[in-house]
């Protein structure tokens, strides 16, 4: 049976030096910044605010809302990050929304600072060789490990299947794999997600 190694992802933030004050400049920057910058702004809230009743799902949306672009705020927040398997796809979709729905491209807004995620992946030394050990691993590791295996791993592999589901399929647990892959990650906090996954593993 193949083993599953639990990893985790940790970030800090680095300012890119790109600061924009109009929607036009925002659009231009969005096309040019690197993937780790897009990643930071899309996933930061999920990483940091997921347990609070906040209004939007990413920092782009907050900036739009604050500067009088409520439709853009909603549309960016409604992006199904889980459907998208490549950051380049998400970026293209955001650019399309801006080109279609954007207006007042020269209006002066509060500045938006593009920040890059400086990421480190660590091996937690937790290894599962069967379903029981896997379940114990999910209980034991931190929430950032769940984030890595459920979110980042799909982007890393440009795959619609997360790490957990891929491994569960390999060991013949297709149903559990499918159910875990179907979870709407946006609708749960990472703590709730852990419980949801444990429920599926125990079912």
């Amino acid at each position: 049976m193949p083993e599953f190694r639990f990893r985790s992802e940790l970030w800090t933030a680095q300012y890119t030096g790109v600061k924009v004050s109009t929607l036009g400049a925002f659009l231009k920057a969005l096309r040019e910044v690197d993937d780790d910058t897009v990643y930071y702004h899309l996933y930061r809230n999920m990483f940091e605010y997921h347990f609070l009743p906040t209004d939007y799902w990413n920092s782009f949306s907050y900036w739009f809302a604050e500067n009088g672009f409520p439709v853009l705020a909603e549309k960016f927040s409604a992006l199904d990050l889980i459907e998208c398997v490549c950051l380049s796809d998400i970026r293209e979709e955001m650019v399309r929304i801006l080109e279609r729905e954007g207006h007042s491209f020269d209006k002066i807004c509060k500045p938006f600072y593009f920040i890059r995620a400086v990421r480190r992946t660590v091996d937690l030394g937790v290894v599962a060789r069967d379903l029981s050990e896997f379940k114990e691993g999910v209980k034991k590791v931190g929430i950032h490990s769940l984030f890595y295996h459920l979110v980042t791993s799909r982007l890393v592999h440009c795959s619609p299947v997360n790490d957990f589901s891929r491994w569960l399929t390999e060991i013949g647990e297709e149903r559990k794999a499918r159910e875990i892959n179907r979870i709407d990650l946006i609708s749960y906090s990472l703590y709730d997600l852990r419980n949801r996954i444990i429920d599926i593993l125990e079912s």
Partner: protein
């Protein structure tokens, strides 16, 4: 020591820190700042240094020397970096700064270290001592978003000689900064006397000692006696509230050894208080952590209304105690308070009064916002998160992993 934090964050997060630190074992790190007592920087270092050692990093902390003249100049630099003043730095000021910088080159031995982390402008000039192979990081704890340009230019020469800088928020990164700029907010320590759980009897005894009525609502601001913290605006907001609602105002602070203006501001605040028995102006010794903790836990509403602020850790301290915070919509304060979720952000004295009244009259609202506030701090502003950020910066600069 790290184990003790398992009470507040999950064990998995502690494991992540240990894994991250594995490749940094034995790396020699020196923190340098200007004071061991008073202010947020010293508080953070008192905990961060032992925690780094606990993870196997050989971490030390040195404080630069200076007399009253030097600290008057550095306080002036501090104020001018926050906002332009009537006059910029004089030649004498610059000479004083440079003279003490050169004296400190002999006093602080940076040679044995792989990484030197210098906090704030006071010791920034030490970077001229950098030797080949070392990594130097300038950690800026103040709001430099709209400084006196000449003062910033003076400092910028030193800053750009570092390998990297760390600012609390991106708004503080000046355009002239040509080195990698990390964005890392500071943090509070849940095990520190200022934040740990307290017995109800102790809290009551503190209130009794300061003659604060435990039966009536308390509005609290904790800050140094400093004009930039706007204690006069807080008194004005309290007076607006007091027209309709009964409450007491507590302004609690202390003087830091590198802040000669503190006493003067304290006297002015006493004058502004006048003969109002419900305003309590408490000048506490810098080590009054338990008293500050008790005051925060007993407060009904916590206010933090600075005009300029590096970050304002007292906001997180209050939030950690489950209190909603009414804070200025500026700098680091707005990074901590999520408007309408963990407290309120205000833009004026009148706005502060309005939100204080709203919170004083609605217990459910206070409870809901207070619970979210504590969760927000647990995730984003505890020292374990800060430690993680430093470890990633060290990884990045030393190119390990």
């Amino acid at each position: 020591m790290l184990e003790e934090y398992a009470r507040y964050i999950d064990r998995g997060t502690l494991k992540e820190l240990e894994s991250l630190a594995k490749e940094l074992k034995g790396v020699k790190v020196l923190h340098v700042n200007s004071t061991k007592l008073g202010g947020g920087v010293a508080e953070i270092l008192h905990r961060l240094v032992p925690l780094m050692n606990d993870l196997g990093i050989d971490c030390h902390w040195e404080v630069i020397r200076g007399d009253e003249d030097f600290f008057r100049v550095t306080k002036r630099i501090h104020n001018l970096l926050h906002m332009p003043g009537e006059r910029s730095l004089s030649h004498e000021d610059i000479l004083t700064y440079l003279r003490y910088t050169f004296e400190n080159l002999n006093h602080v031995d940076t040679d044995p270290y792989d990484v030197v982390i210098v906090h704030d402008p006071q010791p920034a000039g030490l970077v001229i001592k950098r030797r080949r192979g070392q990594k130097w990081i300038w950690r800026c704890h103040i709001d430099v978003s709209s400084p006196d340009e000449e003062t910033w230019k003076f400092l910028e020469t030193f800053v750009n000689s570092y390998d990297a800088a760390i600012f609390h928020i991106p708004e503080f990164v000046r355009e002239g900064v040509r080195i990698p700029a990390f964005v890392i907010p500071p943090s509070i320590d849940p095990l520190h006397d200022k934040n740990r759980e307290l017995e109800e009897d102790f809290i009551n005894s503190v209130l009794e000692r300061f003659r604060i009525d435990p039966e009536r609502p308390v509005v609290l601001q904790v800050s140094r006696f400093d004009r930039l913290k706007d204690p006069f605006g807080v008194i004005e907001a309290y007076r607006i509230v007091k027209r309709r609602l009964d409450c007491q105002l507590v302004l609690a602070g202390s003087f830091a050894s590198d802040d000669p203006e503190g006493e003067e501001v304290y006297r002015e605040v006493l004058e502004a208080k006048g003969d109002d028995p419900d305003i309590h102006v408490l000048n506490l010794p810098p080590d009054s952590h338990l008293e500050i903790n008790a005051l925060q836990r007993s407060a009904t509403v916590i206010v933090h209304k600075p005009l300029r602020e590096g970050f304002g850790l007292v906001v997180s301290e209050g939030m950690w105690k489950g209190k909603p915070v009414v804070g200025s919509n500026i700098g680091g304060v707005r990074r901590q308070v999520i408007h309408g979720v963990t407290g309120y952000l205000v833009n004026s004295t009148e706005g502060a009064a309005f939100r204080i009244k709203q919170l004083l009259t609605d217990e459910d609202l206070r409870k809901r916002l207070g619970e979210s506030a504590r969760e927000r701090v647990r995730h984003s502003f505890l020292i374990t998160r800060h430690l993680k950020d430093y470890l990633i910066v060290l990884h990045t600069l030393l190119k390990v992993g």
